[in-house]
């Protein structure tokens, strides 16, 4: 794996072609576990039927590309929204939508999946702000994904 110096770990160039060539690739068609549309957090309606009482994934945009088994291991049976805490604008709306998931859609759990780069922690912070503002409480889990697609950390907040 080649790394190139850059100021920001979130956009530091890495060449992992040799690592991914060496890794065993799955064969055959992998069935999609996506059970809704839209999925971008600005576009979703937080009280849509598939969020009612659901286990919801709030996923940083890059996660599904880094994590080889995202569909069968994490998305299956869950509802989802995606966002980028580094590039997206209007993030106060995100806090309100997550709060509406908790208070209005009465979701069962919220799992925040982020990359290990520092800027991605912003998505976790948005979820925590929403939880603090909500009148209901739900268990919130944070899963940190490494740039190599391995799970770095998995914890309930």
């Amino acid at each position: 794996m080649k790394e190139h110096a850059h100021n920001c770990p979130g956009s530091m160039m890495m060449d992992r072609r040799k690592d991914s060539d060496a890794a065993e690739a799955g064969t055959g068609k992998v069935r999609s576990q996506l059970q809704q549309w839209p999925i971008q957090l600005h576009l979703i309606g937080p009280t849509a039927p598939y969020y009612q009482g659901a286990d919801v994934l709030l996923v940083a945009d890059c996660v599904a590309y880094a994590l080889g088994g995202f569909h069968p291991e994490y998305l299956k049976g869950k509802s989802i929204a995606i966002a980028c805490p580094k590039l997206d604008e209007g993030q106060d709306v995100y806090v309100e939508k997550i709060k509406a998931w908790i208070d209005d859609a009465k979701i069962n759990t919220l799992t925040v999946m982020i990359m290990e780069v520092p800027c991605c922690m912003g998505l976790s912070a948005i979820a925590e702000r929403a939880l603090a503002a909500a009148s209901r409480k739900v268990p919130v889990k944070r899963i940190v994904v490494g740039l190599d697609g391995e799970i770095r950390k998995e914890e309930w907040l």
């Binding site: 759990t109 799992t111 409480k137 739900v138 309930w156």
Partner: protein, 267 residues
């Protein structure tokens, strides 16, 4: 080795007492367990030893049971690791651990309380009855009820580890009935005996749950189950807010009256 793995641990220890020592070396306290019907294969799963420790422990057991034979130790499929660095991580189980901490604050003061207990005085009888009230309303109704009516229902009720815990609950209730009867008879000796028995039982029961049962359950429960437990615990606690407030008051009173806990009986 497969026969041993599928055998009841108490029977194995009875035939080979040194197996109990081998288990204890790895923090598996089957010797002191009152039931002991667990199978060795289930014990391995529940205690979640590292692969290295599991191999070492099974090798020790094989050497004891088959001293002159070369035994192949089976490699178990490893369980997924929770990358949390903590034994127990999920909010509903952490809530139960926090309730254990409250109960342990009372248990820690029982020895000092018993040294001064005299049921021939009104004050002594009031203190004993207040302790019974805490045990019944908080330890049993507030805490054990969430285990029995909600948490344990997520698992197979025939599991030996669940039966052991339910057995402890029943033994605890028998002690509480005996304490209550002793107070009515003003029988200080009997009250002291059963309060001591309750304290010893619950300290060991809480240790088993905090160190073995809950970490194992935490690894088994799905995200969906964690969310449901969280909601159901909150719904069960809501009508008992007054019980919790009274229990916290009782603990504060006990701590003011009997001072700091003895060493080793931490809060």
């Amino acid at each position: 080795m497969d026969k041993i793995m599928r055998g009841r641990i108490k029977e194995l220890i009875a035939r080979h007492p040194k197996v109990g020592d081998a288990l204890a070396e790895f923090g598996v306290a089957c010797v002191t367990c009152a039931v002991g019907t667990c199978l060795l294969k289930d014990i391995l799963e529940i205690h979640h030893l590292s692969p290295e420790d599991e191999q070492r422990m099974l090798t020790r057991i094989a050497e004891i049971v088959y001293p002159n034979r070369q035994v192949v130790i089976p490699l178990r499929k490893s369980q997924p690791e929770q990358k949390t660095g903590k034994l127990i991580n999920s909010p509903p189980l952490l809530k139960l651990v926090a309730e254990h901490a409250m109960i342990k604050r009372v248990l820690a003061r029982i020895p000092d309380m018993l040294r001064k207990l005299d049921l021939d005085t009104v004050e002594g009888r009031q203190l004993a009855l207040a302790s019974v009230d805490f045990i019944r309303s908080f330890a049993d109704k507030y805490h054990h009820a969430k285990e029995e009516d909600i948490l344990f229902k997520c698992f197979d009720g025939n599991l030996d580890i669940i039966k052991v815990m339910l057995d402890d609950h029943e033994t605890g209730r028998a002690h509480v009935r005996a304490i209550r009867e002793a107070v009515e008879r003003r029988d200080t000796v009997a009250a002291v005996k059963h309060l001591k028995g309750y304290q010893k039982l619950l300290m060991e029961h809480i240790r088993k749950e905090d160190e073995v049962l809950y970490p194992w359950m935490d690894r088994q429960l799905s995200v969906t189950q964690i969310g449901r437990l969280f909601s159901e615990f909150a719904a069960a606690d809501a009508p008992l807010a007054e019980t919790r407030r009274r229990s916290e008051e009782f603990i504060s009173m006990l701590e003011q009256r009997f001072g700091d806990a003895e060493p080793g009986q931490s809060r």
